[in-house]
Amino acid sequence: MTTCPLPIDWLDFLEDNDLPELADHLSKCRSCQEVVSRLRSAAAQSIPVSGLSAIGPKLVPQEVTSVAPGDMFVTSDSFKSSFYHYAGLDRLIVLVLRSTDEVAGHRWFDVIPASIDVDNSIPTDILVDASDTTISRPLCLDMAQQITVSAQQLGWRLGTLTETGDAVVRAAVDGQIDLRRTGPVLEGEDDPRLVARQESARIIRTLSGPRSRVIEAGLIEQAQVWPKVLFLTVKGVRRTSAHKVLAASAQSHSVFIATLAKQTYGVELSGELRTDPDDNLWIHFSKAAGWTSPMRAVVHRQVGHAVTSQAFLPVPGHDVILVRRQNLFPKEVTGIELRLE
C-alpha cells in the first residue's frame, strides 16, 4: 500500500481496533505511526458542537435535456459506447465552450474543467465569482485542460454562466486575460498546487478518452469533408549532414518532427519541436498549407495531462509557442491535436 489512510481512518481505527488491514499498514508505516501517536495524545475527545444549523445555497442538479455554450454540467461517472467505456469515475464540473461536431453517433462539445478549489489556482486558470454563474459559488476554470466530450458523458446540468461570467470567459478564450482573475505564478514544477491537481488530471484523462479514440480511429476525417481537427504524430530522428558531428557526439542529438498522422487532402502541416531556456515548447513550421484559419494545439504527453496552446496561425518558416514554461521536452510529446478556432 503506497497511499496512506486518512487521519479520519486512523481515528476510526483507534476507536475500533478490528481493522486488520489498517493494523498491517500501521506496523510498517512510520508516517502513520506518527499520525496515530498524535491522535492518541491530542484528539481523544469529541469536539463539543451544538446548535449548528447550516443550510447554505442549494445545488439542484437537473437532467440533461439540452447542451449549450455557457452551460455547466457535472460529468457522468460512467460512459459506454462501442468504442470506449469507463465506470466508477469521480465526477467533475465542466463548462461547455462550444459544440464541436457530430461523429460516431455522438454529439461532441468542447468543455473546460471547473473546480471549487480556487486556492490552488494557477496562472492558466480563470477565476469566476459567485455572481458569474447561476450556481452561485466561486469556481476555478482550468483553461489549459480544455477537452472534447460527448453529450453522453454529461451527467447532470447544474446551471449556466451569467452575462458577466460569459463576458469573462469569452475574453479569456480570446486571449484577453484579466490578471486579477488568474491564479498566482507557479513556484516550479513541484509547486504543491500542481500536485493537488493530479487527481483531477486523472479524471480529465479518462474523460478525454472517448474523443481520443474517435480521432485515433480516423472517424473524424471520414465524417467531415473539411476537418476541424487534425492530429500530428511526433517522432525523434537523428540529424544528418550538417548535424553529423552533433549526432555522433556523446550527447547524441535528435530532432523531433511533427507530421500529420493521416494524409489529409489539401492540407500540409509539419514542423520541428524544440524548447528554449525559459522552458517554452516551440514548433517551427516547415510546411503549412490548406489550413489558413487560427487554431489551437492540444499537446498530449507521456506523463501528465494535455496542454492547450494559445490560438495561432501556422506560417511556414515561423515559430509558435505550444506550451509555456512547463519544462516539457519534445521527446515527451506523444501527439499534437490541432483544432480550428
Partner: protein, 316 residues
C-alpha cells in the same frame, strides 16, 4: 451511513447530525497532524478545534458552497471523506498563509506612512482606497495604469534586484518575502513608474500577483492595513514541526528519505533501493522540503527539521 444517506440528509436539512458528526471527526483527526500554530489560538484544544470547525463550515462548506459540490461529485463515501480532508487541510494552510500576506501588506502601509520618500494624495490613510505616490511627484494625478500594467512594472525588478527571500518551492513561507530595503526599492520602482498615484489596494493586488501571496478579501485587507503593528507569526519548534511533517508525508516519502540517507545522498542508488524512479524520488523529496519550508523560520531551522525528520525514520 452511506453517501446517499448523507446526500439525503443534506437535501432535507443542510448539515444534520450525521454530516456534522463526520465533519467533526475530519477536523479532530486532521488538525492533529498540524502544529498548534495552525489553530487561531496557538494551541489545539476543544475550543480551538470547535472554532476551526465552525470557520471551515462558515467560510467554505456553506459560505462558499463547497459542500454540495463535494457531495455531488464524490463517487463513494471514501472519496467524500478524502475530499473533505483535503478541503480542511487547505482551509488550515490558507488561514496561516493569509497571516503571512497580511504581515507584508501591513508592513507596506507602515513603510509608506513612515518614509519621507512617499506621500498620501487622497483617501483615508488606513484604507485600501488611500492613494500614494512619490514625495517628489508634484502632480496629484491618479495613475491610469491597469492592474496588468502594474504587475508588468513590478516584474521589471528581478528577485535578485529585490533580494526576495521567499521564493521557489523551498521558500520559507513564514519569513518576510521582502526585507525592508527590498520593500522600499519595490515601492519606489512601482510608484515611480506608475505615472500617478496608486491605491493601497492596487499595491496589495500587485504584490499578490508578483510575489505569489495569498489573496485577502477587502475586509481582511482593510483589517490588515488598519492594524498598528504587523502581527508576527508564531514560531514553531523544530521538533514539533518535524513530527507534524512526518505525520503528513506518508509511507512513500518516508521510504524515499530513508533510502536517500542510506545511499549517502546518491539519488540513483536511493531510487533503486526505494523501488521508484529517480524523478519520483525527487518529487517526493521536493514535497517534503516544501512542507518544511512552509513553516520553518529560517534556513537553519529548516535544516534542523529535516535532520530530525530523517533521524526519526531510523528510530524503532
Amino acid at each position: 451511513m452511506t453517501l446517499d444517506d448523507l446526500r439525503r440528509e443534506h437535501a432535507e436539512r443542510g448539515i444534520g447530525n450525521d454530516l456534522l458528526a463526520l465533519l467533526e471527526r475530519i477536523v479532530r483527526s486532521t488538525s492533529a497532524t498540524y502544529p498548534a500554530q495552525y489553530s487561531d489560538t496557538g494551541v489545539w484544544n476543544d475550543d480551538s478545534r470547535a472554532d476551526a470547525l465552525q470557520d471551515w463550515i462558515a467560510t467554505r462548506l456553506v459560505g462558499r458552497g463547497d459542500l454540495p459540490v463535494i457531495l455531488l461529485t464524490a463517487k463513494s463515501l471514501d472519496s467524500f471523506r478524502a475530499a473533505l480532508t483535503t478541503s480542511f487541510r487547505q482551509f488550515l494552510v490558507n488561514r496561516r498563509g493569509r497571516s503571512s500576506a497580511s504581515n507584508l501588506y501591513s508592513r507596506t502601509q507602515h513603510t509608506l506612512e513612515g518614509s519621507d520618500e512617499f506621500k498620501l494624495v487622497g483617501g483615508r490613510a488606513r484604507s485600501s482606497a488611500a492613494l500614494w505616490t512619490l514625495a517628489s511627484n508634484s502632480s496629484g494625478d491618479v495613475s491610469t495604469l491597469s492592474q496588468e500594467d502594474l504587475v508588468r512594472v513590478a516584474w521589471e525588478l528581478s528577485d535578485d534586484d529585490l533580494g526576495v527571500v521567499r521564493y521557489g518551492p523551498y521558500s520559507l513561507k513564514s519569513s518576510p518575502i521582502l526585507r525592508q530595503s527590498g520593500l522600499i526599492t519595490f515601492l519606489l520602482h512601482l510608484l515611480g513608474s506608475a505615472k500617478g498615484a496608486v491605491s493601497l489596494g492596487q499595491i496589495a493586488a500587485t504584490m499578490r500577483l508578483r510575489f505569489n501571496l495569498a489573496s485577502l478579501g477587502t475586509a481582511e485587507l482593510g483589517d490588515s492595513l488598519a492594524s498598528d503593528e504587523p502581527a508576527p507569526l508564531a514560531a514553531i519548534e523544530a521538533a514539533e514541526l518535524a513530527s507534524s511533517v512526518l505525520a503528513q508525508i506518508g509511507e512513500l516519502s518516508t521510504k524515499c528519505l530513508r533510502s536517500l540517507r542510506l545511499a549517502g545522498g546518491d539519488f540513483d542508488q536511493a531510487a533503486r533501493s526505494a523501488g521508484v524512479s529517480k524523478r519520483q524520488l525527487e518529487t517526493e523529496l521536493s514535497r517534503v522540503l516544501s512542507l518544511i519550508a512552509q513553516d520553518a523560520e529560517d534556513r537553519d531551522q529548516a535544516m534542523e527539521v529535516y535532520e530530525r525528520l530523517v533521524e526519526s525514520l531510523f528510530k524503532e
